[in-house]
């Protein structure tokens, strides 16, 4: 591995780290396209810098021109957003468009000046990930230290400014100051990124890794760390792919890696990941099917005082339409030792099943009673609702209902609510 490659990989990883870290503040403040705005807003600054350096492409003039334009655009953005019904994303768009159009007009004016140097001025500042210079790397490193240090020193104030603007204002914490401070830090990061890796990667680094953290945690601190991690990972892996094969442009490689991680996280991530959600829904559904089956079986047990229920009857009462599905549930419950087969066509509840069933029935009938007594529902209307709500009643809620209704014995249909004593009498384990 040559020195060039090593330095390139380090630069990309470090830039990913700091951008993934900062990006969280943008995503949370609905300013995800802040990088895009700065990237376009620097054009007039670049033109002015070029003009001031007597039409020579002098990097210092141009860099500071760009920085100046970025700060003006940022200040204007802060001024416009959230006032007079202009939302933050609209404010970004207005500044992006306006500044870029001004820059474009300046370029047109410069074209007339006849100085050969103006051509390609809008590309002048834009770097590429594969050609990050050593200066850029040192800028990135220094900036990373400054940013991480600043954020941690003022963490509380910045967090308050982002999430509790009104409260901090009222407490005299001056959130406006911290917000401008924060966006200035981010603007500086963007300018350095522009020079190092160009507009698109600068934007992508600020958005994608931070967006990915949404699927892992809601806490800002965790997101900051995760964002930095994902950013660094994307930078490293993307650079690595770029150095392994020919014709793999570095910036795009990094972006596609981070997008891939994003999609994976969206599917499998612990918080709101699609797969997790579906899994949760599926698990819930199975649980509800179990509980419904048992409650129906218990009904027959109650009626006949015999721990034996005909499958036909349970099927009819359960409301499950598909006999194949019913069959699958039955098999699952036998496997789970919740019911026992009593010959071909009837089942008995095991001890475990009896506990569950009685619990379910108790919740069902208490809820029905609650609806009738406390919410004035007519008794004919409560069964369907109770069938759904019974699955959601936790032990705490159950206790509340019992207390509110003063431990009743009979449900609105005259059926006995299995009381704790009853359950003990019946020999239901656990009671």
């Amino acid at each position: 591995m040559s020195q060039y490659l090593i330095e390139a990989v380090i630069s990309c990883t470090l830039l990913g780290f700091i951008s993934g870290f900062l990006g969280n503040f943008l995503v949370v403040r609905k300013m995800a396209l802040f990088g895009d705005m700065i990237g376009h807003a620097v054009l007039p600054g670049v033109c002015i810098g070029f003009f001031l350096s007597a039409y020579e492409k002098n990097i210092f003039f141009i860099f500071f021109g760009a920085l100046g334009a970025a700060f003006v655009a940022n200040a204007l953005h802060e001024f416009l957003s959230n006032k007079l019904r202009i939302k933050p994303d609209a404010s970004l768009a207005i500044n992006l468009t306006g500044f870029y159009a001004i820059g474009s007009t300046m370029m047109a004016w410069l074209k007339d000046s006849g100085k050969a140097g103006q051509t390609g001025l809008d590309r002048y500042l834009l770097g590429q990930a594969s050609s990050i210079s050593r200066e850029d790397l040192s800028f990135i490193a220094v900036l990373t230290l400054i940013i991480v240090a600043s954020i941690f020193i003022f963490y509380k104030e910045i967090k308050a400014a982002c999430f509790d603007y009104q409260f901090s204002k009222a407490s005299g914490l001056k959130p406006q100051v911290f917000l401008i401070f924060l966006s200035s830090l981010i603007a500086a990061n963007v300018i350095v990124s522009l020079q190092a890796v160009g507009v698109i990667l600068a934007c992508a680094f600020l958005v994608i890794p931070a967006a990915t953290t949404v699927f892992y945690s809601q806490k800002l601190l965790s997101r900051l760390f995760l964002g930095a991690l994902f950013g660094a990972l994307a930078g490293f892996a993307g650079a690595f792919f770029s150095l392994s094969d020919a014709n793999v442009p570095t910036g795009p490689s990094i972006i596609l890696v981070s997008a891939f991680v994003f999609v994976l996280s969206g599917i499998f991530g612990p918080e709101n990941g699609w797969f997790r959600k579906k899994l949760g829904t599926w698990k819930d559904k199975r649980q509800h099917q179990t509980e419904d089956f048992l409650r129906c079986a218990y009904y027959f047990y109650e009626k006949s005082h015999e721990n034996k229920a005909q499958l036909e009857g349970v099927f009819k009462r359960s409301g499950i339409k598909n006999p194949k599905l019913f069959e699958r549930i039955r098999k699952r419950l036998v496997r789970g030792k919740v019911i026992k087969m009593n010959g071909e066509d009837s089942v008995s509840l095991t001890d475990k099943g009896l506990t569950l069933a009685a619990d379910m029935v108790r919740k069902h009938r208490l809820w029905e009673l609650y609806l009738v007594q406390m919410m004035n529902f007519p008794p004919e209307r409560v069964h369907a609702n109770a069938e759904r709500v019974e699955h959601l009643i936790t032990d705490k809620i159950l206790k509340e209902i019992e207390d509110t209704l003063s431990n009743p014995d009979v449900d609105p249909h005259g059926k006995v609510i299995p009381s704790l004593n009853d359950l003990r009498k019946h020999g239901v384990p656990g009671y």
Binding site: Y4, D122, R123, Y124, Q128, G198, L243, P252
Partner: protein, 289 residues
């Protein structure tokens, strides 16, 4: 009485012919340079892209429309160099004298990278001479009375270009084959490479959006080391970062700035075609020797 009137009319007509100047607008400054050399004072010439403007990065300004409207003849490069404008001019050709100078070339002259036509025809002096002849021909069709003058100037230009070209060819031949490798940012030199018998290698492609990969740049660095290539070259309108990295990481130095898509400023030595060609050749030879 009658004859005096006739004389007056005839004289006026002749005077009108003499004072009627042809306005020629070209798109690129390279074409404009040709037109002004061949047409000189017999025509009025304008160009849309001024000194040093890269056609890939051209932005239209209001007077460009005026220039196109006022023109009696419009010349553009063709081969999609001017992008959407070329398409518009192609359609305008139905209603106005609009010519793509590349039409003077044969299909076999044009470099085609599997569907993508390379428009940088001016880097091959033999092709540019053909283009110049086409321009002279078109101008002569519009102003037949100046045909001799146009073709005289064309012949002079042809000689000049051929001299520079043959000197250049010899010069470049003197570079040992191993080192005879032109490394630039932008992939604009294929015609140059073909004519002057020098290999070309670009860090990034033709498109302004394209980007190099780490492996691609490392490959170039390795090639430089292996073949002991002494220099790499930057271009006037393309960002230098990639070439600078190559320079940092290999033993090659930046040999100088080449003009790839535009001429230099009007007052510089590279303000004419032959001047630009000479500058490029000298820079390359000096760097690679």
């Amino acid at each position: 009485m009658f004859y005096r009137k006739l004389l007056t009319i005839l004289t006026t007509l002749c005077l009108c012919q003499l004072s009627h100047s042809l306005t020629v607008t070209s798109t690129t400054n390279l074409i404009d340079d040709l037109v002004s050399t061949i047409g000189a004072n017999d025509i009025k010439n304008e160009s849309l892209m001024g000194d040093g403007v890269d056609p890939h990065l051209y932005r239209a300004t209001a007077r460009d429309l005026t220039k196109l409207r006022n023109a009696d003849v419009i010349f553009y490069n063709g081969l999609h160099l001017e992008g959407k404008l070329a398409e518009t001019l192609g359609r305008l050709a139905k209603r106005k004298d609009v010519y793509a100078v590349a039409d003077a070339l044969d299909t076999k002259d044009i470099i085609n990278h599997s569907g993508a036509i390379d428009p940088h025809i001016w880097f091959d002096p033999s092709l540019w001479i053909k283009v110049a002849q086409g321009v002279a021909e078109k101008l002569s069709q519009k102003l037949p009375q100046h045909r001799d003058k146009f073709f005289q100037r064309f012949e002079k230009l042809k000689t000049e270009i051929n001299n520079t070209a043959s000197l250049g060819k010899a010069s470049i031949k003197s570079i040992p084959k191993e080192k005879r490798l032109l490394i630039t940012s932008h992939d604009a030199f294929h015609y140059f490479g073909r004519y002057f018998d020098i290999e070309v290698l670009a860090v990034q492609g033709l498109s302004t959006e394209s980007e190099a990969g780490l492996r691609d740049i490392q490959n170039i660095i390795d090639t430089i080391k292996k073949r002991k290539v002494p220099a790499v070259f930057v271009e006037s309108s393309v960002p230098r970062a990639a070439i600078e990295r190559v320079e940092e990481s290999s033993k090659a130095k930046i040999g100088g700035t080449l003009f790839s898509d535009a001429l230099g400023g009007k007052n510089s030595s590279a303000g004419t075609y032959t001047g630009m060609l000479k500058h490029n050749i000298e820079t390359i030879v000096k760097g690679l020797k």
